[in-house]
């Protein structure tokens, strides 16, 4: 089953094209990593997939629907969240918010059960009643992942989920993402993601170069490494 289909996508904020002729498809339960330089348009692409931005040209289908129509089945972990650290809100409150939807104002037993289940899976059940202020960067990131998962999405979109986390925390988060049994699109500034069990790699710098996984096979994919990633990695061995 096709999960995500992007055809001929063009986007600009003002005069200059930020994305040009992006094309890719992703099957159900596949894992795509998006890498590329800062300002290359990765976050912009995600916002288009979420329906927050409209493309100037091109077509996007997410499980055969437009991005806006498919929001219900998307889980999103943003790059930045401006928590004011004094905000009196507990981990459980935040995770439960993933169950909100149109015309739904109150949480029921099932919502709470699902939230507990996700906290358990991410091994942060012990943090349930902690205030957001008392968490580390990695723990906060897991809370946002839990909030995205609790709505039982078919597609999980994550924008740099390992930035601002220490290396052991990064590994833990990547392990988790690898284990999720849903379609995943994960933007990362960290090329170690390419060593993961990814099905597709997109290198986005205005245009997209798509590499079909699994895993980057350095000798075989010499062209992809050297020609497409060279600026990014600044290392003839592909830096991995």
């Amino acid at each position: 089953m096709t999960a995500v289909e992007v055809k001929n996508l063009y986007f600009k904020y003002e005069k200059e094209w930020i994305l040009e002729d992006i094309n890719f498809t992703l099957k159900d339960k596949e894992f795509m990593a998006i890498i590329g330089p800062n300002g290359g348009g990765k976050t912009t692409l995600l916002k288009i997939l979420l329906g927050f931005l409209n493309p100037n040209k091109g077509e996007i289908k997410i499980y055969s629907k437009s991005p806006k129509e498919s929001r219900e089945i998307i889980g999103y972990v943003p790059q930045h969240t401006n928590f004011s650290l004094d905000l009196p809100i507990t981990v459980f409150d935040i995770v439960l918010q993933g169950r909100l939807k149109k015309r739904k104002f109150f949480y029921n037993q099932k919502d709470k059960q699902k939230a507990n289940e996700v906290l358990e899976n991410l091994k942060i059940k012990n943090l349930k009643n902690k205030k957001i202020k008392d968490l580390s960067g990695g723990q906060r990131q897991k809370v946002l992942i839990a909030r995205a998962l609790v709505s039982e999405p078919k597609l999980l979109i994550m924008d740099e989920p390992t930035s601002a986390i220490d290396p052991s925390g990064q590994k833990e988060i990547l392990d988790l993402i690898e284990s999720f049994n849903v379609t995943r699109i994960v933007v990362s500034h960290d090329i170690k993601i390419l060593l993961r069990n990814v099905d597709k790699i997109a290198y986005i710098h205005k245009k997209a170069t798509i590499h079909e996984g699994p895993k980057l096979n350095i000798p075989k994919d010499k062209h992809f490494c050297e020609v497409e990633l060279i600026d990014f990695l600044k290392d003839e061995n592909c830096g991995i």
């Binding site: 979420l50 927050f52 929001r71 219900e72 998307i74 999103y76 943003p78 969240t81 401006n82 928590f83 004011s84 004094d86 905000l87 009196p88 809100i89 507990t90 409150d93 439960l96 918010q97 993933g98 909100l100 939807k101 149109k102 104002f105 109150f106 949480y107 009643n129 205030k131 909030r147 709505s151």
Partner: protein
């Protein structure tokens, strides 16, 4: 003595409900400047009511709701310049009030009494309006508690969940503007902001859940108001500044703790 201050105590109770809920929401949503702008801008509504000879409560309500909608539009459309634009609305609203007043001779001192308010002079009809707005606020928070909480830190997320975040935000500013109208008679335009934010700022530091933050700010607001009323009654000084100074001292003390 009770006869002389009974209405002001009832007003304190009714106001503390609004302080608990709207005050806490103002703090967590960082809409202090916008609230200041609506509060000062409401002077335009008061001036207009005096010029037209219409009801102050109704005219000012309509006027501040328009201000709230304009401010919601501005802050959503021009997020990078919102602080300056909020300041403009602040000044334009006051200017409108002053122009209408200068066209309405004889009412100046009446209008000026709205700048600082006087909780000791609250009338029954003010209490009724407070009760109506309190009911609206209570119903809103029951249904929108989870949405308002999410709105305070991630509007994009609400949008993704199929909830119209801009509409919710606009509704919140309208509630804020009605809260201001219910408070001007008692608290006055200039000091409303302090009375609504100080209890919430103190409460936020000592609570883990937003619900407790609201409860604690409501209690603090009530204590500050009743304390201010008693002191100002005995020493014959203006109540609103007395209330604000008590609250300010409490805030400083709370900041000293850890």
């Amino acid at each position: 003595m009770w006869d002389l201050i009974s209405n002001s105590v009832y007003a304190s109770i009714l106001l503390s409900i609004a302080i608990a809920i709207i005050g806490s929401l103002i703090v967590i949503n960082k809409t202090t400047a916008i609230t200041g702008s609506i509060a000062h801008g409401s002077f335009g509504g008061i001036g207009l009511a005096m010029f037209l000879g219409s009801s102050i409560i109704l005219t000012t309500s309509a006027f501040t709701i328009v201000l709230a909608i304009i401010l919601a539009f501005i802050t959503i459309k021009f997020p990078h310049r919102k602080d300056s634009l909020i300041g403009v609305i602040w000044a334009v609203g006051m200017s409108i009030g002053i122009i209408f007043l200068s066209l309405t001779p004889g009412y100046q001192s009446d209008a000026l009494s709205y700048l600082f308010g006087n909780i000791l002079l609250v009338e029954n009809k003010d209490l009724i309006f407070m009760g109506i707005i309190d009911s609206l606020i209570l119903i809103s928070i029951i249904f929108l508690y989870n949405r308002f909480l999410a709105m305070s830190y991630d509007r994009e997320f609400l949008t993704l969940r199929g909830i119209n975040a801009n509409m919710l935000y606009t509704y919140f500013l309208i509630l804020t503007s009605l809260t201001i109208v219910m408070s001007v008679r008692a608290i006055g335009i200039i000091l409303i902001l302090a009375l609504f934010t100080i209890p919430a700022l103190i409460a936020e530091r000592f609570t883990k859940k937003f619900f407790s933050m609201m409860i604690v700010s409501g209690i603090l607001g009530l204590v500050f108001m009743v304390g201010g009323i008693i002191i100002s009654f005995y020493y014959d000084i203006s109540p609103t500044p007395t209330i604000v100074i008590i609250a300010g001292v409490a805030l400083i003390l709370s900041l000293l703790k850890k």
